[in-house]
Symmetry: C2
């Protein structure tokens, strides 16, 4: 996390800013979920702003030493406790003033928030949502380790799900068993609602898990992830219960499309070309119209982050990006199939984290 | 959901707006997770904007008939499929233009988003984040039913957690068992990271669940919820493993404080007075300094929504609000205790949804 702050400072200097106010990327910078905001000045150490009730947690989990707490109301304090009795916005403004900031970048905030902030501390404020996303694209060694662990937990969860996929069970039961397995292994939670989509649900790419029972003749798309140290994983497998030939063809197709796409992943590759490699395989059999989503996305603290692997992507893949490769085909009244792995981009290719 | 749109339209008329653009409150208005945006004009039916890949889901889950899909890139379409090949912002702007809107409210959007939107369709745009929150405070009969179901699932989860609280198990194992139980019962997921906080974690109000083993002489704070039909529940119990007298006192205190607070809940009551009733009990024994958070909050589609029950709250409780009452005390090196139930505010008092 220290490294992230260093990288951010370099960017601030380049852009002529003297501080960054993170409202959204707090865990990435501070290493704790307890921060409401993190202020990173170009010079000097960062400041963590938190609610009084999360002060101890911020101190225990995070690495930032300058932790400042607010309480919206006056209240008796514990011996040694230091708290500002004000709105969080006021404490942020006070810190920005104390640091002498005049040009501040920020990652998220509505019009009203920024207007109030400006009234409390006069400075120029620049909305820079893409700055942090840009930094987060390339993963450090430590981040790769965390992502690897999250991926490993998901793999074990998928093994458990595979054992549960039998005729008569509900989608929810399959999800429950996989999630339990991952939780006991240390997952902080699923980074998105677990998908167990069978039969008519399987051709909805973003179905979740319902009380529907699995039946013979259905495809079952299972897509989920775990979270480890704040980092997400994401993988998909498609199972078949006494499938028709056509259904099996779909699974074969997405696997082949995935293989073709993974073959294109390497440092310097255009993300759109990786997408194209998968899309060509699918198009050849006339199924392009059944493949409405991109072939993958970056994964990190959020399960969907840049780069995007899609026809319109401008991204170039770089070493130490972590991405998913997940072609999908959804044919109404036949079934859906998707096959997804997480890979680490390397100099000459990539390394799967989920296989 | 139709009712929500009707209520919103009344508010728009009052404020002289001719449409509302929901980016955040889409499920509340549309009844599906598939909407990227919902446009509600004062006159005429609402429009749902979604990604092409979520079109079928929006149609199947939602009630809005005018569903419009975008795809960021040109692609072959299924027979009968209608898609705009553009950015979602462009499709939103096109709809706003088609509807002839000149004064548009919206619930969330950064400076850049609104600037681009204005460039694509010239109108006056007003950020009104509190408008929807205000509407969401009072629950319809249907919403109360969903909240009741979510609460019931959480109660069963808590029973399961209670059985798991034994010396030697990990916090994560306890969380896993409760979550599995809720999932099988139909929960869409936990509305916030499940808290199983034992020993030194128990005095962090927002701890999560770790690999720490439960030990003799510890308090264990368990706080979680389920989600049903998009609606959250939230409840907390504190367990004790061969506790000291002082630890038992903490549990007794939060229960008494909760009882006092619940006694004040009724239509017309000041939220700050409900908070005060709990705070007085805690203050009498000199523990006010160990009680850093408010006594409760509204629950609905989000687990934390208005009203707030805290010393600085300006909210007045109204019939058919659903709130939590959850005093907490956190004494370093002794333990934390919190007792939380969800109640429905009624004319003369309230009805517990979790007891």
């Amino acid at each position: 996390m220290r490294k992230h702050v260093r990288k951010l400072k370099d960017e601030l200097v380049k852009r002529g800013l003297d501080a960054f106010l993170a409202i959204q990327n707090t865990r990435y910078l501070a290493g704790t979920t307890a921060a409401k905001a993190v202020i990173v000045p170009t010079d000097g150490p960062p400041v963590l702003i938190c609610s009084r009730l999360e002060f101890d947690q911020a101190k225990r989990e995070g690495w930032i030493r300058d932790v400042r707490a607010f309480s919206r109301w006056r209240a008796p304090l514990r011996p040694g406790e230091r708290v500002s009795f004000c709105e969080p916005l006021q404490l942020i403004a006070d810190c920005l003033r104390e640091l002498g900031t005049r040009a501040v970048g920020y990652d998220r905030g509505g019009k009203k928030f920024v207007r109030k902030l400006r009234a409390a501390h006069a400075a120029s404020y620049r909305e820079l949502p893409e700055l942090m996303l840009e930094l987060r694209k390339i993963k450090s060694k430590e981040e790769v380790t965390l992502l690897q662990r999250a991926a490993k937990i998901a793999m074990n969860g998928m093994r458990c799900a595979a054992e549960s996929v039998t005729v008569g069970r509900t989608e929810l039961e399959v999800a429950a068993e996989a999630e339990r397995e991952m939780r006991i292994a240390g997952s902080e939670g699923t980074p998105f609602p677990t998908i167990v989509a069978s039969g008519r649900n399987s051709w909805l790419p973003h179905a979740s898990a319902t009380r529907k029972h699995l039946r013979r003749g259905e495809l079952v798309v299972i897509d989920f992830g775990a979270t480890w140290g704040g980092y997400a994983s994401d993988m998909t497998r498609t199972f078949a219960l006494s499938p028709t030939k056509k259904q099996l063809t779909l699974i074969g197709l997405v696997k082949r499309a995935q293989k073709a796409a993974i073959g294109r992943v390497r440092n310097g590759a255009k993300a759109s070309n990786v997408d194209k490699a998968a899309r060509i395989i699918i198009s050849r059999v006339g199924y392009a119209k059944f493949s409405p989503h991109g072939t993958g996305h970056g994964v990190g603290m959020e399960v969907h982050e840049p780069p995007g692997l899609a026809p319109d992507s401008k991204d170039i893949l770089r070493e130490r990006m972590v991405i998913t490769v997940e072609p999908g085909i959804y044919v109404p009244r036949v079934g859906g199939a998707r096959w997804e792995d997480m890979v680490l981009v390397t100099k000459k290719g990539c390394k799967s984290l989920t296989a």
